[in-house]
Symmetry: C2
Subunit: 359 residues, 2 copies
């Protein structure tokens, strides 16, 4: 079809959708023969209990709908591990599904969203899809601290990615509580804890203290289940009740409920996996610093390395030529940096060796 | 927490969300010892290839994200079976996910949705979540035909559930094409073909002829995969491109892609399963008619039976007491009817025997 017909067709869409560039996920190379450190996946496999759980779901049972609204087995398991009530939990099709549900619940053309930057680039895309006023973006403090202005934006939804992506910096639960208290009766505070498994603390304790806090969790990182799409929200019960009205009735499927439940229950395996990554994170950080890169301490499963006397874009290209993929963002404040997922010892060694070659 | 605190908390939500009652899915009894004819599930299991496909997904592969935007293996398989291009297809987390994506793409406070009624009750819920003007609901013709007024509503999105739920009636692709032509450059026409596997024809042929048609398909019914949450949309490529910007990047997971692909490829099994249900549908319809119920011919995997000298609500209750579940809608035009999913021969016999007892 010619360009003119395409223009006519696209005009069926809402104007904000037409204008939208859309979110760009990290490159997923097909080949197994690559060192893939670009999308913050866990380099270690999930618990062996996951395979058992998947095998235990009979194909015959798939003919029936999952338990509506619930994912009850998962909610019960997570509630026990996290010390909250099952009614404080909502299951979602990955953390991104929770972000979508939250933005559809609290934001619209008169209700903007605010967050400190740089951060996860999906927030602004979802704000644009919802046709919100331009997202209110306030720079983090130089040390990764919350900017004071965040308490004064007039936004209906305030998101703090914590630990933050792509910087790996962390804000203490106390600081988040202060923000939530200031925003009481004004704004929901969504704490995106997708990377919390690798951090020193978390905001779970705020659920009982702050009526306006929602915590996002994901099974993708510490539990090694990116491919399963399973996340969840933790919030005061009245908030969960409202979010449930907005989510698809059957947003998580029977197999992923079983697999995520098994992964959540195997806390010993989880902790061992997380500790391996944290220990490699220390080694990777040290090695990068010895290459004269500036690498702030990370509380996540990736590091953000700043090139001092080198060109980040060029290094990205040269690494890719060697089948080593890291993430490069051609954005203000990030264009001199590389976001590098913590891999296995072998992967990290290969990366460091190749970086030595390049530099 | 007291009611007053709850009121305060709920006010964080948008007004339209606060007011929303939310969608009520059909009851899912826990016990296996029931005759479950209330949610239009397939009484037969999915293809044995599905279990093989699930077993072939290694748990280790789950640590990585699925192929973003794509579900390529599924799109290729479906494209071949349906005789369309893979680029005409978008994979979704069940058909409901496509409905949500479509409404977020085309509708807002100034862009209403229209559809003939009675029909799938989720449409109005999604319209309310999107804060659209009140959904424009126009009664079907008495014979299940499309009302002429549907071409004149001013809606940005017009949905036709075809075969329709809960009536089982069917509108010919020619009639849908006439509607789409009249609505050209005015409205998207979404043909919800969730139940098309059991119908005599379908609207696939319109994709090349109408720039404004989107077809919804589901793997839940004919392919027996309700529990997997896998649906897809078929539309002209420019429409698919726009919808992709709105959907979550990773809205379908690695296991369900593999399972749905295997089910789609096993067309022999699929056709045999569909034919068994169609043959039972004829037998069930005849039996109900002999019980002096009014049962229009259905093109779906359920029938809508009207009680002539009996009380539908009462029959629903009495059947439930015997662990036989059908669906009762306490709504205008439906309160004298029962929607009954076509079960296995044994299930249908059990239902008919119990109905004879009750009547």
């Amino acid at each position: 079809m010619g360009e003119s017909i395409l223009d006519v067709i696209m005009s069926y869409f809402r104007e904000n959708i037409d204008k939208l560039a859309g979110y760009t996920p990290g490159f997923q190379p097909d080949s197994a023969d690559v060192v893939k450190l670009n999308t913050n996946e866990n380099p270690y496999p999930p618990s062996p209990k996951v395979a058992e759980a998947i095998a235990s779901v009979s194909a015959e049972s798939l003919r029936k709908y999952p338990c509506p609204f619930l994912g009850d087995t998962f909610r019960d398991a997570a509630a026990e591990v996290l010390g909250v009530d099952a009614d404080n939990i909502i299951c979602t099709n990955g953390g991104d599904d929770l972000l979508t549900i939250v933005i559809r619940s609290f934001c619209d053309t008169n209700r903007p969203i605010a967050y400190p930057v740089p951060t996860y680039s999906l927030y602004t895309v979802l704000s644009d899809i919802q046709d919100c006023p331009p997202a209110i973006e306030i720079p983090f403090g130089k040390d990764g601290s919350l900017p004071d202005e965040l308490a004064d934006t007039g936004a209906s939804l305030t998101i703090v990615c914590n630990p933050n992506a792509p910087t790996g910096s962390f804000v203490s639960p106390d600081e988040i509580k202060k923000l939530a208290d200031k925003l009481k009766s004004k704004s929901i505070v969504l704490v995106d804890e997708a990377y919390i498994d690798y951090a020193q603390d978390n905001c779970l304790g705020l659920i009982d203290k702050c009526e306006n806090v929602i915590i996002l969790r994901s099974m993708s990182k510490g539990y090694s289940l990116c491919g399963l799409r399973f996340g969840f929200g933790i919030a005061p019960k009245p908030i969960i009740e409202g979010l449930r009205k907005v989510k698809d009735s059957y947003n998580v499927d029977s197999i992923s409920i079983a697999a995520a439940t098994a992964a959540m229950k195997d806390q010993d395996y989880f902790k061992a996996s997380v500790n391996k990554v944290i220990s490699e994170r220390t080694r990777l950080t040290d090695s990068l610093r010895r290459l004269a890169m500036e690498v702030p301490d990370s509380q996540s499963n990736f590091v953000l390395a700043k090139c001092i006397d080198c060109d980040a874009a060029q290094i990205y290209e040269k690494l890719a030529e060697q089948n080593i993929y890291v993430r490069y963002f051609n954005l203000d404040g990030l264009s001199d940096k590389l976001r590098i997922t913590v891999g296995t010892k072998e992967q990290n060694d290969k990366l460091i060796a190749e970086l030595k070659n390049i530099l």
